[in-house]
């Protein structure tokens, strides 16, 4: 069950990196139809043949771990299997159109987007949806801009956004980018929102409360109705961070819980590939009274024709064009394939998997009951545990977050693991816990690279070939 990775080591123990190799770089002069003073003098870049490049990138891929390499229970990231057919659909030649084409000539694209807006609205219990934000954090930013525009339209100047201390860092950063002061809300002893602290925090300055439900500890905020009342009574809006929506499909909808604005992470909930960190897409849903503030443009339909329109009091643009189209195609394909039954089952199995895995490992798991993810507490440094788990052929959980749990291992197996692979994961957890500290601290040893020195990387930043060349000369 060991997942063997390739290494860049040849017989002579030299690092072999063809794109770095001097003899493969070439300097050219940019001789052109332009005057010399408008062109550069030289350009030095790798100069490899196609076979060399194919081997280079194949080799690199062998030094990388994805969902198809093995279990990937990275908490809060919802690393699901990504169906293959969606790639083929997104590669359809008719999907590759220019965004400035006339609406008459891209009726297919617009219909797909219109349907996706509709589907996401139904799934989230929202009245209107924009597909423009190119990632979850961009969705948060767009959503908070909508909240701001709403308050301003009501003649109110509210300055604060409340965020639980266990929230994703993007919540804080997105609210700050929109110009809000961030008020951090401490958690209660049961890992949920401290309602009394919330009551004390809200007021006439409150623009919004940003919340994910279930929260980052995997706990459902059972007081959500009351929380919504507290925020709404103060004149604030309730924002739903969709990172954990995979736990609720078909069981609960943010709109029904009193949320006014939400974003969807289609790369999480709707199984579009995470692509090594992106692209994702972060559509935003809102209630009817906020629809007129959504970004420009929206996709509408009149007399059977699909069109683009600017909402009456639109916040404007959060992306140069319409967002990450190819990701949206894949999300639409995924939703259209699963339908009600499949989406609902995905949540059921995701929650079952988290609970089953938690029941099989010998770690302290505070709080509960939990939904699609749980946070285990390690007896030793959680980062060390994670490194040693790599040696057992699995990707480890998210470590050391949220801070409410000491040496946290935030674990989200998702619905795509079966009992056998969950048992494999449990074995990895428990073997590491039983090992002596020296072994764990020396890990990993069966991966492409051994433990990497993060401190020197930050202290002496070398961020390009050029910086390496300089360092090598020293």
């Amino acid at each position: 069950m060991i997942y063997d990775q390739a290494r860049w080591v040849d017989d002579s123990d030299e690092v072999y990196e063809p794109l770095l190799n001097e003899k493969h770089s070439k300097e050219v002069e940019a001789d052109s139809a332009l005057p010399d003073d408008l062109t550069r003098d030289s350009l030095t870049l790798p100069d490899l043949s196609e076979p060399e490049l194919a081997r280079h990138y194949t080799r690199l891929s062998q030094m990388n771990y994805g969902v198809e390499s093995g279990p990937f229970p990275l908490g809060s990231c919802t690393m699901k299997y990504n169906p293959k057919f969606t790639e083929d659909v997104a590669a359809h030649p008719k999907a590759a159109v220019h965004p400035d084409r006339s609406t008459e000539s891209v009726q297919g694209t617009l219909e797909l987007l219109y349907n996706l807006q509709d589907y996401l609205g139904r799934i989230g219990g929202m009245d209107a949806v924009t597909l423009q934000p190119p990632a979850g954090a961009a969705g948060e930013f767009a959503g908070i801009l909508v909240a701001k525009a709403y308050h301003e339209a009501n003649g109110e100047d509210r300055s604060e956004v409340i965020v639980p201390d266990s929230a994703h860092g993007t919540n804080f950063a997105s609210a700050a980018l929109a110009g809000y002061d961030v008020v951090e809300l401490p958690g209660a002893e049961d890992g949920r929102v401290d309602v009394e602290a919330l009551e004390a925090a809200v007021g006439e300055d409150t623009a919004a409360l940003m919340l994910t439900n279930p929260n980052t500890l995997g706990l459902f905020e059972r007081d959500i109705e009351h929380i919504a009342d507290v925020v709404h009574d103060a004149g604030g809006l309730l924002y739903y961070d969709g990172a954990n929506l995979n736990a609720l499909l078909g069981r609960a909808r943010p709109g029904d819980m009193g949320f006014d604005i939400m974003h969807y992470n289609v790369h999480k909930t709707f199984a579009t590939p995470h692509g090594g960190g992106g692209p994702g897409a972060g559509p935003v849903g809102v209630t009817e009274e906020l629809a007129e503030f959504l970004p420009d443009p929206q996709v509408g339909k009149t007399n059977g024709k699909f069109e683009l329109f600017t909402p009456e009091r639109s916040v404007g643009k959060v992306h140069g064009y319409g967002g990450n189209w190819l990701v949206l195609v894949k999300a639409y394909a995924y939703i259209a394939r699963l339908g009600d039954a499949g989406l609902s089952d995905a949540s059921a199995k995701a929650v079952l998997n988290a609970n089953y895995l938690a029941s099989q490992i010998d770690y302290d798991i505070p709080f509960g009951p939990f939904h699609h993810e749980f946070v285990a507490s390690a007896d030793m440094d959680a980062a060390d545990v994670a490194k040693r788990m790599l040696d057992y052929g699995v990707h480890p959980p998210t470590t050391k977050w949220p801070e409410a749990v000491s040496e946290a291992l935030m674990t989200e197996p998702t619905e795509v693991e079966n009992k056998r692979s969950l048992d494999q994961l449990a074995t990895a957890f428990d073997r590491v816990a039983a090992e002596d500290e020296a072994t764990v601290e020396a890990a990993p040893e069966r991966t492409a690279a051994g433990r990497i020195d993060q401190v020197s990387a930050a202290r002496n930043p070398r961020l390009s070939w050029q910086a390496l060349d300089g360092a090598d000369e020293e």
């Binding site: 994805g66 259209a336 930050a458």
Partner: protein, 445 residues
């Protein structure tokens, strides 16, 4: 279940009924529903009304939708470009170890992607001449927004004006407005002269209020900016950040940004590697080393592993939102890493000769097509007396909207940009239809 059976559950949850039963038993509940800790008052017991489909049926459904897009040869640009993407890029980037991985929080099992992103950063460092490049923003517009907030952080003076060209893509302008809305920054425009910056007007305007001077080359009208050194000098004199907007292919040919005083380079990197994708992009972001600790987005750095071998890792993460939260340099988390991988592959695939040749073709192709259109009755091209890159604006005696509409019935797409102006963009992907475009314009103009 065969691939075309309608799923009754998730087709991607591999549980057998026996496994499910065993797992429920181990957890100590009777059914999956017992695991949902949701109060009745907020429980959803309705249906979405979305029918499940088999894989083939789903695919047919989507292809049927997409086929409603009409066949047109697009001569469209304005910030979003169609270049031929080598098959190598599609095949290698689709390897699932790349495609289905996530952010490299465990670098020991992510060396492949980290090295590819390091190589992407290195290519941008070479192309821009600046010391630091991050490993992606969402697109050119958001990269510009991030540049403005960077200027606000790094500039010591108390100014609050971001000075941008009056001719600026509406998506970039709008996004910039939103990125600065939360700060005390104001966006102000400077005039243009034949689609280049009006240097004298900028000289008159420049004072200590200006935190960032932004220029583009090529501009939104496809002209190559001829005053970059002067603009860089003006920005420097007034301690303003000089930000240059461009794209990854133009960089291979045009003046090296560092040599004209650029402090930050933003723009579109997806012009290589992505192809036309209904506006999806890849924001490039590079800057001088002194801004390193204020850079938005992810950075990959070289380090060593425990055996002393070279290894790569995400670095300087204390700038990022997951650590610094509201004091982060940006809210970006999920970025465009896979697109950056594709762009790096495309650049490597072309190599230095191929890049320069392709960029040269963008100059000569636009010039030749403009000359030929200028011979068409009712058309004057190019409107701007400048060198062009890929695209140019042409004057039409007829109303531009009517010309564009008539061209569409002939199978061509161009952008009307004024009452009597259309913009035409040509690359190698529509080169074979240039003759036909000239002929069609002869009929409709």
């Amino acid at each position: 279940m065969s691939s075309d059976d309608t799923p009754v559950g998730s087709p991607y949850a591999p549980h057998t009924p026996e496994e499910t039963a065993a797992m429920l038993d181990a957890v100590g509940v009777d059914s999956e529903e017992d695991l949902f800790d949701i109060p009745d008052a907020v429980r959803f017991d309705g249906e979405f009304g979305i029918d499940a489909r088999g894989e083939r049926a789903t695919r047919t459904h989507l292809e049927t939708l997409l086929k409603r897009n009409t066949d047109l040869t697009a001569f469209l640009g304005r910030g979003h470009y169609d270049h031929y993407v080598p098959s190598l890029v599609d095949h290698l980037s689709q390897r699932s170890e790349f495609l289905t991985s996530y952010t490299q929080y465990q670098p020991e099992v992510a060396q492949g992607f980290l090295q590819a992103l390091f190589e992407y950063q290195s290519m941008l460092v070479e192309l821009t001449g600046l010391e630091v490049a991050n490993c992606s923003m969402y697109d050119a517009a958001t990269a510009l927004g991030e540049a403005a907030t960077l200027a606000n952080r790094v500039r010591s003076a108390s100014g609050n004006v971001v000075l941008v060209p009056e001719l600026l893509h509406e998506g970039r302008r709008g996004t910039l407005e939103n990125y600065v809305a939360g700060s005390d920054l104001d966006v102000e425009t400077y005039p243009m002269d034949a689609a280049n910056a009006d240097v004298e007007a900028i000289r008159d305007r420049m004072d200590d209020d200006v935190v960032m001077l932004y220029a583009e080359s090529p501009t939104v009208r496809g002209t190559i900016e001829e005053n970059l050194s002067a603009l860089g000098g003006l920005a420097d004199e007034h301690d303003a950040m000089f930000c240059l907007g461009t794209d990854v292919l133009a960089l291979s040919l045009l003046q090296e940004p560092a040599s004209v005083g650029a402090d930050v380079v933003v723009g579109e990197a997806g012009s290589l590697g992505l192809g036309t994708a209904y506006g999806m992009g890849l924001g490039l972001f590079a800057c001088r080393e002194e801004f390193l600790r204020q850079v938005p987005g992810r950075l990959v750095g070289a380090s060593e592993d425990a055996q002393g071998r070279r290894a790569y890792t995400l670095t300087l993460q204390t700038r990022e939102q997951h650590i610094r939260r509201e004091r982060a340099t940006s809210n970006i988390c999920t970025n465009q890493a896979w697109v950056a991988l594709r762009t790096a592959m495309h650049v490597a695939s072309l190599g230095p000769d191929g890049l320069v040749e392709l960029a040269n073709d963008c100059v000569t192709g636009a010039r030749d097509l403009a000359e030929r259109l200028d011979d068409v009755k009712g058309i004057k091209a190019p409107v701007d007396d400048r060198h062009h890159f890929r695209e140019f604006v042409a004057h039409t005696d007829q109303p531009a909207a009517a010309v564009a509409s008539d061209l569409e019935t002939e199978g061509f797409a161009v952008t009307p940009v004024g009452e009597h102006e259309i913009q035409v963009c040509t690359t190698e992907t529509n080169a074979h239809r240039r003759d036909a475009l000239v002929e069609a314009l002869g009929e409709v103009a």
